[in-house]
Structure formats: structure tokens, C-alpha cells
Amino acid sequence: MNSSEIKKLLISSLDSDADTIEVSGKLQEEGISYNFSKSFGDKVIDRIFSAGVTVIREVEFVKNLNFAFYRIALTGVAAIVVLLISIFLMEGSISFNSFLGLSDSYDESIVCLLTGN
């Protein structure tokens, strides 16, 4: 089969009434077949019945942990930015005091509060 015949076959295979079994058979005759390596089965069995799977699961866990960390870190940064913007809008500046919510307090009043005098 030349390339234009292959292309026609591929397009016609997507007709709703196409004989899909015939198309897939023809493609296989043209050498379009897929398979895994010869040791595929052994590798699968080894991975299942050896400690390999535990290692893979641990790696998966670390990957998921990393993914979760990035999501949490990004959310945290976004929350801090929103907080700073809201402080700036309410207080008109981003000082340390306004960040801590102490903009209306004097140092003396805090000392009084702490010492009770």
C-alpha cells in the first residue's frame, strides 16, 4: 500500500459505518503493529512481586508531597499579597505596625497593657 492509499484507509476508518476490524487488520498487514519489549512481562512481575513497588510508591508519595507543597506555598504567597494590599488600602501605608494591627496603639499603652501599671 502506498502512502495515499494508507491515508485514504485511515480517513475511511473513521466513517461511522466503517468495518473497524477489517481496517485494523489491514493496518497490521502493513506492518503497523505495536508491542512491548520481550522482557515486558518479567519486568511487570518483578515490579509487583519485589520491593520495587514500595520504592515506586515512595517516589510517588514524594512527588505528590512536592506538588502539594508548591500548591500550598503559592496559595500562601497569594494570601500574603492580598493581605498587604488590603492593609495598604485601609491604612494608607504598609508599616510593621499596621501589619501587626498596632497602628492606633502607642508604645506606652502596650507597656501599660503588659505590666498592668
Binding site: 503497523i32 505495536y34 512481575i45
Partner: protein, 186 residues
Amino acid sequence: MIKESYNVTDDIELIKASLDGDKKAFGQIVTRYQKMVARTVKGMLGDSVFAEDVGQEVFIKLYYSLSEFRGEAKLSTYIQRIAVNLTLNEIKKRKKFFSMFAQKGNNEMYEFEVADHNTEERREASEIVNKALLAMDPKFRIIVTMRMLQGYSTKETAEILNMPLGTVLSRLSRAQEQLKNILEKL
């Protein structure tokens, strides 16, 4: 004919033996269905290094979910569903990874090796199929893979992909349009 039909009773016996820890029984399941899984995974991902790993993951996931298999669907359908889900997940992962480093199209994401073929014509045919498939949108590619490489009917495709028949039919016609455009450029 591509679509294999296996004895359902055999499958159930093999599953029971596998659940009892019989390595050989599970090995037989792997041998029986690995070509089917290869067509789905390699059809979707190309003949790439990831494809073999995803193929292994399919059978590992199957092993750990064998106890959940109730026998309502055929084992082949159950395995196909796992293969489709893991393959689509892999595509999403790769897409995310590649989009972080470079703006590349899907068809440039995978390097694929064309298996040894006897003639130049066969090599060309294989290249056309692989390139066309990889250039397609994954949601269309999966439907094309199921029909073209696996030989499933529209109804069987809908059952495996857990989609209404109407959705499969509409995607089929859109996939055909996309495939025509891709093949014109090849």
C-alpha cells in the same frame, strides 16, 4: 483481525489464582493482554520510552485492583479502561512538563522510534500513522486508537471510554476532519 476474544471463564480462573498470589497466573494475564495494551498506549504516546513504563503501570494497577473486579464487564474492557486513563494522565503530565520549558505542539513532544520493517513502503506507512496520531488532539486520538488500531466498534468504544454513544459519534466526525487536515500536510 486485531480484536482478540478470550475465554471469559479462563480470565476469571486466572484472576482467582492471581488473587491467591499465583505469579504465573498473573503472568498469563500479562502475556494475554500486553499486545492490546501496547496498541492503546503506544498508539496514544508514540513508540516512546514512556510508553513501556505506562504499560507496566497498567498491569501493576490491574494487579492491585483485581479484588475490585466484579466480572460485570469483560477483563479486556476493564484493562482497556485502566490503559486509557493512565495514558491520558501521562499526556496531561507531559503536556504540563513541556509547557513549563518550551512552547511545543503535541506532535513534537515525543520522540518515536519506528520499528524495523521489511520495506520502505511499510516504514512510510508506519510513520504516517504515528505522526498523524501524535498530531491529533488527545480526545480525538483516543477514539481513533480504539477504532483504527484496536478494531472496536463505536458502541464498544463508547463502553470502554464510558461515554454516551452520541458523544463518540460526534467526536468521530470531528476527528475525521482533523485527521484529513493533518494527513494533507504529511
